[in-house]
């Protein structure tokens, strides 16, 4: 095989669906990968699974598979996804059910499990990376999932899987696995694993490399974002790749879009840690070789570490929030008065919070007053009060105190909204590799 064409069909759980179908139909790809798990997603999925043991996979799994499965089957495109979230087995069963309803026979589906390490973690005295405190001190833990590497996905492909669905796996590993399998890379060829990780990282956020999260009118213009095309990597056996997209789709692939995505949340570019390799992004070179065609070369890697990162999800109380708008002359002054009233009311009525925040949206809500200095008076502002509490009851009182501004606050307050949500926070620990044992289960359709 000269080059392998891999398409990226989703950059997060709620992403657009039709760009993936466009890739399947017109992208001439051999693999379609859907990366749908953010840090917290799996903890929320675990809560869904506790309520209904047949759930806990990605809520859009069904919609995505219904959109692409027929085309992928007809064209021999293999699908790899982490949409199994907290329940890859039920996710696989859902895919089999959809295949059946579409009249697809002989589809081999592999579910990768073993990322759930909640049991191994119980009683373990591992330090939390973010705070240094012991993980055993966390209260309200709902999930603990290790980032698995490419190996179990490679095994599933070797065994003829057409669709591989995982829970928590390192995002780039979903893309690295087909490269290892198709090019027969060794699992200790650190140089190539590093290069493949660069490719995976560039693709994993889908539209973020084809012009999404990039446009700034007048400076960085991007056309047709409503029809943004998702990326394709044409990867060679040496690990170099061309990033491109379907001709005629919206967006653009340029050295600039590729540079922004290469550095996206990687921290130290010389030492990007994944379960498969310590990748080096610092030596990557990026060059435009044609319209919407960017060549990625260089990059490398060093031996992987002995530990796996584990995301621990835990319930940490509630957030209560209320908002209300003011407009016209004097809007900002009425908004500030509203904030002062709510601040005093929360004190007077004894609402118990561990943290409170008072924002004037349209003035200084995002970055505070120091960075927000502006000459003009805004036409409209939106008051926002948010607080952290131990109970739903206390959280509810925050939004209520904003809502009562209707009849008790400054003139002309409108459009009040209030909300309460449970906070599912995430902490990270490092677990010895031996504590996680990946398994593969096969289903036929």
């Amino acid at each position: 095989m000269q080059t392998l064409r891999i398409g990226s069909g989703a950059g997060y759980s709620g992403d657009r669906i039709e760009p993936a179908l466009e890739l399947a139909e017109k992208g001439e790809i051999q693999y379609l990968v859907f990366e749908c798990l953010a840090e917290r997603t799996i903890a929320l999925a675990q809560q869904a699974k506790l309520k209904d043991p047949t759930k806990g996979y990605d809520p859009l799994l069904g919609d995505r598979m219904e959109a692409v499965l027929r085309t992928c089957r007809d064209k021999g495109i293999k699908i790899i996804t982490n949409m199994g979230a907290a329940n890859p087995m039920s996710g696989a069963a859902k895919i089999a059910e959809i295949a059946q309803s579409l009249g697809i026979d002989g589809l081999k589906i592999a579910a990768v499990t073993g990322d759930d390490v909640l049991e191994s973690l119980r009683g373990a005295d591992l330090p939390i990376i973010e705070t240094g405190g012991p993980v055993s001190a966390l209260v309200g833990v709902v999930s603990a999932n290790a980032y698995l590497g490419a190996a179990p996905i490679v095994d599933a492909l070797k065994n003829g899987a057409d669709v591989v669905i995982t829970g928590r796996a390192a995002d780039p590993a979903l893309f690295l696995a087909p490269l290892i399998y198709e090019f027969d890379w060794s699992m200790d060829d650190w140089e190539r694993l590093g290069k493949g990780t660069v490719v995976g990282h560039l693709l994993e956020c889908a539209g973020q490399i084809t012009g999404g999260y990039f446009a700034d009118p007048g400076i960085k213009d991007v056309s047709n974002l409503a029809r943004l095309g998702f990326p394709i990597a044409e990867v060679r056996a040496d690990g170099s790749a061309v990033i491109t997209k379907v001709e005629g789709s919206g967006g653009k692939v340029t050295a600039q879009t590729c540079k922004e995505q290469l550095l996206y949340e990687i921290h130290d570019p010389g030492r990007y840690l994944t379960p498969d390799v310590v990748a080096d992004f610092s030596s990557v070179s990026i060059s435009e070789i044609g319209p919407d065609r960017v060549l990625i070369e260089g990059g490398g890697g060093r031996p992987r570490t002995d530990t796996l990162k584990v995301s621990v999800g835990y319930v940490e109380g509630y957030t209560g929030e209320g908002q209300i708008s003011y407009a016209g002359p004097g809007a900002a002054a009425r908004g500030r008065l509203a904030l002062e009233i709510v601040r005093e009311r929360l004190k007077l009525t004894g609402v118990r919070t561990s943290e409170l925040r008072f924002d004037l949206i349209g003035v200084d809500a995002i970055h505070g007053s120091a960075l927000s200095a502006s000459n003009g008076e805004p036409y409209e502002v939106r008051v926002r009060v948010a607080g952290r509490t131990d109970s739903i009851k206390e959280a509810t009182r925050i939004g209520n105190e904003v809502e009562t501004l209707y009849t008790n606050g400054p003139a002309g307050g409108g459009g009040a909204t209030k909300s309460v949500r449970e906070i599912v926070a995430v902490a990270s620990v490092l677990l010895p590799r031996s504590a996680a044992s990946p398994q593969i289960h096969y289903l036929g359709a």
């Binding site: 990376i129 600039q256 996206y264 990687i266 921290h267 570019p269």
Partner: protein, 117 residues
């Protein structure tokens, strides 16, 4: 002039850590970024937002810098009370950083408008 005239930028996040890239439009401007977009200036620019240390990684071959800022996201994306819990808007705020005007150097934007590649 503002940094926005020389460079583009993207923010990412992990836990309570924000990662901001600063990439020169014209690689010839990279030394200016290196000189004026120091970790100390970035930390000062984000006083009140970033409570931890700011580390800068240099990528001269890409004409880019990468900033890693600790304790920058209100305790972490998953628990922050902020409207922009991910800190996605921080890149735009960083592009408001002042860069001294230098004789004979047109900004990358002006160059782009006049058709220089």
């Amino acid at each position: 002039m503002k940094l926005r005239e020389l460079a583009h930028s993207r923010t990412g996040d992990k836990g309570d850590i924000s990662n901001i890239s600063v990439i020169a439009y014209d690689p010839a401007d990279y030394p200016l970024l290196e000189q004026y977009v120091t970790p100390e200036r970035v930390k000062e620019h984000f006083a009140g937002i970033v409570h931890g240390k700011v580390v800068r990684y240099a990528l001269p071959a890409l004409g880019a810098l990468n900033f890693v800022m600790e304790r920058a996201l209100g305790g972490g994306v998953t628990r922050s009370l902020a409207l922009d819990a991910h800190g996605k808007c921080l890149s735009s705020a960083l592009l408001a950083l002042d860069i001294p005007e230098l004789d004979g150097r047109r900004s990358a934007i002006t160059a782009a408008e006049t058709g220089r590649p």
